[in-house]
Symmetry: none
Subunit: 207 residues, 4 copies
DNA sequence: GATGAATGAGTTTTCATTCAT
DNA sequence: TATGAATGAAAACTCATTCAT
């Protein structure tokens, strides 16, 4: 009896927390962090202000949770894309597909405002960015795998060490995303990214 | 006598304004814009709050002045570098020199924190960024000139239209600068930039 | 249980709002609008500054509420007076009764300081005076009705058009109220008003 | 030598004071008292801020001086009007002429904004209004003289004591002026005043 | 007599957080 | 678990006044 009761309460609590969280995400994707006040969140979620502090230690804690979630969603997507290729596919081709997938995800799923938020946070470093840092590691890992495969297959010239090469690719994707953010909506991320990476691939291919 | 007096007062005023400005710059390079309050600035500068508003119409006006100053310092530097080359120098070579110069300026003159500030502002776009926009145009112009020259001289393959090519280069330098900001001090901007642009140049050179 | 709780909270909130409002009214009746700061209000009411902004959007909103309240109190009173007369009563008589009622209300219910406030606001016209404007319209309407009736009944000479006549009466009541405000407490509003309107009525009566 | 020098300095000082004063008057006629800051005055007058405090003890002192000046200018005007009539002229006629003159002065010389200022000040009574009070006494005196003459000549019925009658006339002129202020520019002061006083005169004339 | 740089108390408003119920 | 009233520190900005030169 007690347990059942407790269980039901927990469930209800979870639901409230999720409602709060989803509302916050929606607002974060529309407005600046500073603009999204706790007041606005609770009002939009239809709960009392005090309730917010039952589920989140602070506004900052909510933001951290938001970032973690965002990273998780993205990561899975990319991995799936990679896994869908036969093991012997041309590395350049896979890489361009991955770029294409990333562009789609940023444009479609994540949205420009969320990216702005992430970038700003990264620059502010007033907060625990471990989630995003972890995501960077993942992205780095994927690029590294692909480039390594390309070198092994003789597609790419081995002039630069793998880790340096990888870093250049990461820099490029970040530069493109940033540009997209600040030029939005006058910057076609996918087209630009594909063209950009084509140049990079041409620059490292074995002649 | 009168004029002397007036002159001395003006000088004193200028000094106070400069003190305020420099203090603000120092703080902007250390903290987030939102964190740098007028109160903190005046306290650090050792003047009264009212004094701030004699010299700056608002906090935003101060930030605008800060940006303008930053842009001015940079621009002159770059142009000088370009002008120092004989007219028939190899375009790739000039471009790499320019990149080198930019890296030096960012690293030495501007500093990582100022760049962070600029990037954050650009992402926030809650403010008049015309100064920085103007700077972007300048940078774009310089890259475009160099690439055009390279195409004319037959160094670069004319596959992509000039403006697209230029955009890729701007994206790249911005990506590198951004990476430098968030990885600081673990990212050697100059070395990475030269290596990165070497790849890009390889990617567009006429075979 | 839940509802009870909510109700009790709402009640408490209402009480605080009323406390704030009444305190403000008291201060408005003692000091100039500019002199009554939010700080003074909350201090006198014994609540925190933030609390003020829970119940009033701004200082201006509070003032608007204050005016609306004042107007509402008055209007009802006058209409009731008018309705209490049999339809065929002498217009002069009703008019003098209305004047008498107005004097009583101003003297007893509203108070001299509130009127000062209203007049000052009207002169400043830096604010939305629609509430008071509406009240003026009402007063004008009542006078117009009475005068029209008087003309129809042959009590008043029809030399002047109705709307002009009405305007003169409104001017008179306002002049009297104003005088009362600035001469307070050395001006017997009721006696003066009755005497004044007697002259006006004598001035327009059919010989 | 010394005296000459001193004299010249004094003259220059007077000139500066007058410049300051006239500038202030111009601003007071255009803007609210609160809106006219010392800064604006000295800027418009083209003198330094400190200079203001050489000639006026405070902003309030300046306002007091402004009022005194205003009253003086007006008073002389009215007296002249009165004196221009032959001693045996009809009292009603003189009174209407005086009203007409007052309307002209308010409309032409004083201006609506100045009157607003005076009325607001009168309501605020946060300041020394002795100047204006004195003016009221003058106006009262003039009305009293005229009404007394009218009663003596048998023009007006002696039902009311002289001082009460006078008060009614003062109230009326003030009510009209106030109305003009708040209805400006939709209120023809002169026409309305003449019509209004005609009614009053009709109301008190011996049948 | 004139200057104008400097002052600082005071104003309105915001918002993350607490806590009694 | 949920509420929402209450808090108060902090923000940007204003302006009458002072004083050294």
């Amino acid at each position: 009896m007690k347990n059942e009761e407790t269980g039901r309460k927990k469930q209800k609590g979870e639901k409230t927390k999720r409602k709060l969280f989803n509302t916050a995400v929606r607002l974060f994707n529309q407005y600046d962090f500073g603009e999204v006040t706790v007041d606005r969140i609770v009002e939009a979620a239809g709960v009392a202000k005090g309730t917010f502090y039952i589920y989140f230690e602070s506004k900052d804690a909510l933001i951290a949770a938001f970032l973690l979630d965002y990273v998780n969603r993205v990561d899975t997507d990319y991995r799936a894309t990679l896994d869908s290729f036969p093991p012997d596919t041309n590395a350049s081709q896979i890489l361009l597909s991955l770029i294409s997938k990333i562009a789609d995800t940023l444009t479609g799923t994540i949205g420009c405002q969320s990216m702005r938020t992430v970038y700003k946070l990264q620059l502010a470093d007033t907060m625990d960015m471990s989630a995003v840092k972890g995501y960077d590691r993942e992205l780095y890992g994927m690029f590294a795998d692909l480039l390594e495969r390309g070198i092994e297959r003789g597609e790419f010239s081995p002039i630069l060490p793998l880790n340096e090469l990888t870093r250049h690719f990461v820099v490029a994707i970040r530069g493109l995303s940033y540009e997209w953010c600040i030029r939005y909506p006058d910057f076609d991320l996918k087209a630009q990214a594909l063209s950009h990476f084509q140049i990079l691939l041409d620059g490292i291919k074995s002649n």
